[in-house]
Amino acid sequence: MSCDIAFSQGRSLEGIDFSHDVVPVLRRHCGECHTGDQAKGGFSMNDRGLILRSSAIKVGLSSESDLINRLTDSDPDVRMPPGDRPALSKQEIEVLTQWVDQGLPWESGFRFDQQYYVPSLSLKDPLLSYDATGDRNPIDVILQRGLSSNTELEKQALTDSLFYRRVSLDLVGLLPDASELRDFVVDQNPKKRELLIDQLLANSADYSGHWLSFFNDLFRNDYAGTGFITGGRRQISNWLYQSLMGNKPYDVMASELIAPSSDESRGFIDGIRWRGEVSAGQTVEIQFAQSVAQAFLGINLKCASCHDSFVDQWTLDDAYGLAAIYADRPLELHRCDQALGRVAKPAWLFPALGQIDPGLDRESRLEQLAKLVTAPENARFSRSIANRLWYRMMGRGIVHPLDAMQSEPWNEELLDYLAGYLIEHKYNLQELLRLIANSDAYQSLSVQVPEDSSAGYRFEGPVTRRLTAEQFLDAVWQITGQGPTQFDAPIVQLGQAELDGDSHQFSASWVWGASASNGGVPAAGESLMIRRVIEVQSDLVAAAALVSCDNSFALFLNGVQVGAGDNWSEPTGVSIHPFLRTGENELVVIVTNAGTGPNPAGLFFEACLDYSDGVRERIVSDASWAVNGNVPVISNGRLGDFTGSWEPVTLVHALPVWEQALKQKGPFILQRILTNDRFLVRSSLMKNDPLMKTLGRPMREQIVSMRPESLTTLEAMTLSNGEVFAEILSLGARKLALQYSGATKKLVVDLYQSAYARAPNSAELQVAISYVGELAEEEKIVDLLWSIFMSPDFLLVR
């Protein structure tokens, strides 16, 4: 290894660039005879060691180096390159001279005779051999062959609850609902896992809310970011969201992106148009070539955008050919920003599958390209997406990293099977996800990637992964009941429409106490308690109350204050879902009239309780409600004991101004709460913010197919003392304190169930209970929440 020492010492500050300066010269003039399997005159330049071992060069001394001297030798028999070959230019000789003088710097690992693995264009033996596998998932059949006979995939070891947590996070990005998890665990149906997978995939809103992040990363789409400021960039957000909602076949998605038929999906090929000059390797045309190649083919053309790649087969001509398909102007080739005086001809990377007709107009060329890319014969397309989905489910690509699809897969058969499966199922991505999720391989215990992952990967189980920024936030919002109420993405969320219309007709009456009966006018300052008991069934999915009161009210559910308002011109919406329990609930509104003398007073209450079967129950203030003049003591947001007697309420004639405010604002308020109850506003629909950015959500100026896997110190700091996260914890704890009202043990058990999909063990229970205490003060709950959210069991998908 002495050459490495020479290399490191030989590299001076003024060094020339081996890759950019030296390699092209050697390739052009010497390559044909002295690299690869050619070694004319016994001289091979394949690697640095070979050159050093020859006598052609004296390191550091160009004047004494044969290789340099022969470039200018007057004797045609000695001069190199020989005979009629063009001599090197003065500049090129200078490059090589400096290279020798500077100690022969070399790119580590570079060889002229590099053997590139070239994946075949077609799939291997698609599908044939697995038709007769019976009940066994083909993935398992293929994997089993690669395992030694005594290794079994440990499917049994993965508990139902861990499986639920993993598959839910992987398919819809959310934690399992605690009660659904309980039902699942006790369910005796042997096909329950299969059914769960079906159920998760069928929930298109949840599914789309999760996979949107994956595709935004892949197609570098975002709701804010560089380029938008100068109008140089367009979103594909709504197109993408609707595509996911409808589970659009992936080849159709790709076609609509490459050859957009509407502006909705144009943003992908138009890239980012920067104001001013950009390097030749970053024009929108070249961006197009890079994006199409990377996103759909797993080919990195970034090197080849400036010069022939040193690491794979792609050349400058390949990159420009692809770019020229998109270009609507003659595209001159540039090598490292130097014009080459040649105009690129539209062409794509795999002419064996067909070629672009350069005579066509741009739209037609793009359509042609879309067809070529998505053709079933083009295995690079199907393999690439199959590999990405496998990575998302299993934590490591079959080809890894994902955008180096020219590398050898660790299981060629498996990759091609999955790719073939996709084609067979008309590029239905959910079908491939379903296949993977149902495999024993997926349902086995998670493992660590061997520390030296470069040395031959072998599948032993899904790799433990970290929650993405979006999964983390969604989970935190799920557990704390905190989260944004409106999303940023310019999309139309389905499900919103069905809630419209219905909520416009209110049926509640305005009520008050006896002072309003027979045309009476309630006294100023009169305070009353108005009550009703409501029955709630078990499968409630959303519940919202709209309350208006002249003059003020406080709303209590089961003795805990859940809302208040003191302005009838701004009706109050309350999300009551978290506070309702199955069975009987006591609803109490304390109402107060204001003013200095008798004046009209009234309470309006209308709630919608939405059940999973689509039934909507309304709870409305009417003559059946009861009123009591003895308002109990309220301390810490809790209602004291009742005294006095209950009388029926009096129906009050509503003032037109009350009704007007309700009509104007009420439906919207109710609908918003119901929508949010049902569809958590997902972080994937929010603009990137400092918290998400810290947690690894990329800026999406470039395509990103893999997120960072480790929690960094700055992230840990942001989570330890950042204001945004602290605020979520604090509001969440307040809500939980009210909801559990001192039932500390239940709180701890429920939190563990939600966060980890398991019950706390007795030691954990004891530690948590003794910390939180019976009073379950908000601060203590904040600390418990933080401890849970920072724990590896929460942060990792095992």
């Binding site: 790119e107 520390e451 400092p690 480790s710 700055l714 992230e715 840990a716 700091m717 601060e779 600390d783």
Partner: protein, 491 residues
């Protein structure tokens, strides 16, 4: 007042700390997207743990004082012929709008308004011939991207900020203070904020390498204190609860995997800072009143003071900006003279005070302080002579008829001043020269961004050819590794 670290660390915590260190290296090795050093980690280079190319450093820390928005050299460090405001003054005759004053260096003059800085010019080197690429259109954030990363946007990979390169290669000094701290620039709610965020990032190095953003210096303490409303005591109680729950969990007894350990190590690191004495460096309220006053009651002044405190406590790279907000501060599209006069007042004393404080604490010799901006300004020329960049002056006049016409309102990339103090650079030295008549372009020793970066990096002990392999492609700290340090600047 401050909270003491709990000395009674239980044995199991000790054991875990050991495990965490053990796993630290392997976790990094495992990271799929971790850029690889281009020069390998062969055993022969074991003395060089990061595998990057190092030079002999002349500075251990670096403070970049960023004049965001385009600081006009003829109105600051490179005075030309001065004509006072007068109605009827032809714009093409306007070169400097401030008269020149003497400095501590004989023969070196700067603009009136920079008297304090003038008095410390004998501690540093002034480059007058820095040049930037024109880029065809001036969008400040784009030129700032170029200046801060060394690369012209857009790029095919997310480029790291200069501070992140330094953080990645050199890491923290012997202190828990994060290696890259960025003071004064708000990244939310200001114009071009997305563009600012695009380079205020560690890019492909990942967020471990900064920046830690402290937009409001007087609030910096909050960044290293427990969350608002949480006492130190409760903060440490919470941490103990975390540890106890962790110990109680069953998964803890099973294999100690390195992903878990890596998470716990980062939490440890964070708490180490949040509970160390170094965190007091962030708290400007601990600085005595006189000292705070000497730095001026501006965000920039307080930022300089914060930078001094952080470097004293072991920070590696600190940027302090006058803050870039479109059309504000140095971004003078109109009314340039009066605005620059205000900017003089904002920067003059704090910068001089920073130099003097560093010197009196014996830190200046090993701390490189840089004053720089994305480009200069000119009364007439947008970009460079012959540029096709659109003229963005908001008052396009040929003759000064009102006060607001008086000033340098165009973006000029042909000749800019950069001041360097301490960190091994010569004292009282001037490098390069711009023309005395328009165009005021660099006429001697032009210094490009790669060369300027190479100079800064070399002072910090990093070769400009240091590079990493990103997506199979070499990526260098100066564009394509071409940056060459200006050796004449060093002692």
């Amino acid at each position: 007042m401050g909270f003491e670290r709990d000395q009674a660390v239980p044995d199991d915590v000790m054991r875990r700390d050991f495990m965490r260190q053990l796993f630290a290296a392997s976790a990094a090795a495992w990271m799929t997207s971790e850029p690889k050093s281009l020069f390998g980690t062969e055993p022969q280079r074991a003395e060089n743990q990061t595998g990057v190319l190092r030079t002999e450093p002349t500075a251990d820390a670096c403070i970049l004082l960023w004049m965001g928005g385009g600081m006009a050299a003829p109105d600051t460090f490179d005075p030309k012929h001065y004509i006072p405001f007068q109605k009827g003054l032809p714009v093409k005759e306007m070169l400097s709008t401030f008269p020149a004053i003497d400095t501590a260096v004989s023969g070196l003059r700067v603009c009136k308004g920079l008297e304090s800085i003038a008095s410390v010019m004998d501690r540093g080197t002034l480059i007058r011939s820095a040049v930037q690429e024109d880029l065809g259109s001036i969008l400040h954030s784009r030129h700032q991207y170029h200046w801060h990363t060394g690369y012209v946007p857009p790029q095919t990979v997310a480029c790291p900020h200069l501070g992140s390169w330094i953080a990645k290669v050199l890491g923290r000094r012997d202190s828990v203070i994060p290696p890259f701290i960025n003071i004064g620039q708000r990244l939310e709610g200001v114009g071009e904020s997305e563009e600012l965020k695009a380079f205020t990032t560690a890019g492909f190095f990942g967020s471990e390498y900064g920046p830690m953003n402290l937009p409001i210096p007087i609030d910096a303490a909050k960044a290293v204190l427990p969350p608002v409303g949480m006492t130190d005591r409760r903060f440490s109680e919470r941490r103990k609860l975390f540890e106890r729950l962790l110990d109680a969990s069953e998964s803890r007894d099973q294999v100690s995997d390195f992903q878990t350990e890596s998470i716990l190590r980062s939490i440890d690191n964070a708490h180490e800072l949040l509970s160390s004495k170094d965190r007091y460096a962030f708290d400007l309220s601990l600085e005595d009143e006189g000292s705070r006053r000497r730095y001026g009651d501006t965000r920039f002044g307080q930022g300089c003071l914060l930078a001094r405190r952080l470097v004293e406590s072991g920070a590696r790279f600190v940027e302090v900006t006058t803050e870039y907000v479109p059309f504000l501060h140095w971004d003078t599209h109109a009314n340039g003279h009066d605005t620059v006069a205000r900017m003089h007042r904002e920067i003059d004393t704090p910068i001089a005070q920073l130099i003097l404080d560093l010197e009196s604490r014996g830190l200046l010799d090993r701390t490189l302080v840089i004053i720089a901006s994305e480009f200069s300004r000119d009364a007439l020329i947008e970009g460079v002579p012959g540029s096709n960049a659109a003229d963005q002056a908001t008052e396009k006049v040929e003759v000064v008829s009102e006060r607001k016409h008086y000033g340098l309102h165009r973006h000029f990339t042909g000749g800019t001043s950069v001041a360097l103090f301490g960190g091994g650079v010569k004292r009282g030295f001037v490098y390069g020269k711009t023309a005395d008549q328009r165009p005021l372009i660099a006429v001697e020793d032009p210094v490009t961004i790669p060369d300027l970066h190479a100079t800064i990096l070399s002072a910090m002990g990093i070769s400009p050819q240091t590079g990493f392999e990103v997506e199979g492609r070499p990526f260098y700290v100066t564009k394509d590794g071409i940056g060459k340090p200006i050796k004449e600047l060093f002692i």
